[in-house]
Every structure is written in structure tokens, then in C-alpha cells.
């Protein structure tokens, strides 16, 4: 089975901090994705990547950046965390037959 591992389940950060959310997958998939999940809004795509050093903006990229230096690792970066970035962040990998998600990182910005 594809395993997608997100480094932290819970994070609490202060406003203005730089925050790194890490995601690692172990099945050699090219595609990786970052979504955020908020009540009543479902999953919204932040960024995705189809290959190493390649990135594409999703629907809500403002305030975020990403890094894909290695095929198995896709990092989401909050350059200067704000309270409206408090959310559940989900990493996924997959191809045309559906995605496999990590367990999520619940980030609270205070």
C-alpha cells in the first residue's frame, strides 16, 4: 500500500512565524498535492507538483509556497503564518486512479 506520512499531527505556531509542513510518500509517484480542509468548505487545493522541482498553483496559493527537491518529499511553507491559516492540511499522492492521503496536520496559528 502507498504510504503518505505527514511529519506532524498537531502544530501550534505564532503569527508571523515561518512554518514548514512536511510530507513523504514511499511509492515513487510523480504527483503530490497539498490541500487544506475547513468545515463547510471541503478540501481546497493549495499547490501541486508533477515532478521534482516542479510546482503548480492550486485554487488558494496565496500565503503559501512549496518545495519539491526530492521525488518522495513535498513541503508546504507558510512564509509568515497568520491566524486565517489555522486549518487541517492534507498531503496526497496519486495518479489517474485516485489519491492516497496522509493523516493530516492540524495547524493552529495564535
Amino acid at each position: 500500500d502507498v504510504k503518505v506520512t505527514q511529519s506532524s499531527r498537531y502544530l501550534v505556531k505564532r503569527t508571523g512565524e515561518k512554518v514548514f509542513l512536511e510530507c513523504v510518500q514511499d511509492m515513487d509517484h510523480e504527483n503530490m498535492f497539498w490541500y487544506r480542509q475547513d468545515p463547510g468548505l471541503g478540501l481546497r487545493l493549495i499547490y501541486f507538483s508533477y515532478d521534482v522541482k516542479m510546482k503548480e498553483k492550486g485554487d488558494i496559493p496565496e500565503g503559501y509556497s512549496v518545495s519539491r527537491e526530492k521525488k518522495e518529499r513535498f513541503s508546504l511553507i507558510l512564509e509568515s503564518a497568520s491566524t486565517n491559516q489555522t486549518s487541517m492540511y492534507l498531503c496526497a499522492t496519486g495518479r489517474g486512479d485516485g489519491y492516497t492521503f496522509g493523516s493530516g496536520t492540524r495547524l493552529t496559528v495564535v
Binding site: V4, F33, Y35, G40, L41, G42, L43, R44, L45, F48, G58, D59, L90, A92, G96, D97, G98, Y99, T100, F101, G102, S103, G104
Partner: protein, 111 residues
């Protein structure tokens, strides 16, 4: 922009009943649809999928129906069990882009 949506944010059923969760999509170019189940504290998990050249697909206790004429997708769960309580998301693949998810329906099953 176009998006995938669900008709009801919550659905409550009795154990043993059949559940139907609905989803409307707006992009007629979408050719692949997936239902995901998300239990508390976990990431979404694949349940069942269907491609646009089909109108029905069955799995174990679950059936997905696709009506391309009205751009409607539904998930039917037979003999719903307490373990089926979760948030259910539909997602569409617009070929070449990332999956677009609906807002989710919370299914509550009471004994």
C-alpha cells in the same frame, strides 16, 4: 469557477437503513469521479470510483451512480452500519489537473 458540490451537509440514518449521498458537478468535461470517506482524525480514504463511460458501478455494500445528463453523482450505502459514520466527499478529475473536491456530507448512523 466550476466546482463539485454536495446537496446536504449532514445526513442522519438508522442502522440497517440504506443511505444515499448526492453530489452535483458542473464541468461536463470531467471524465472520472471518486467517492472518499473520512473518519475522524484520518485522511480521506478511497471508497469507489466511476468513469464517465459508465453510469453505475458496484462495490461491497456501496454503489455509485452517474447521471451525465444532469451532472449528478450519488453514493448509495446498503444496510448502513455505525462504522459508516464519517464525512463523505465526492471528487472530480478534469483530466490533467488535480482532483476537485466537494464540500462533504457528514453521515451519522444511530443504533
Amino acid at each position: 469557477g466550476e466546482s463539485v458540490g454536495l446537496h446536504l451537509p449532514t445526513l442522519s440514518v438508522q442502522e440497517g437503513d440504506n443511505s444515499i449521498i448526492n453530489c452535483a458537478y458542473s464541468n461536463s468535461a470531467s471524465d472520472y469521479f471518486i467517492w472518499y470517506k473520512q473518519e475522524s482524525g484520518k485522511g480521506p480514504q478511497f471508497i469507489i470510483d466511476i468513469r464517465s463511460n459508465m453510469d453505475k458501478r458496484q462495490g461491497q455494500r456501496v454503489t455509485v451512480l452517474l447521471n451525465k445528463t444532469v451532472k449528478h453523482l450519488s453514493l448509495q450505502i446498503a444496510a448502513t452500519q455505525p462504522g459508516d459514520s464519517a464525512v463523505y466527499f465526492c471528487a472530480e478529475d478534469q483530466a490533467g489537473t488535480a482532483l476537485i473536491f466537494g464540500k462533504g456530507t457528514t453521515l451519522s448512523v444511530s443504533s
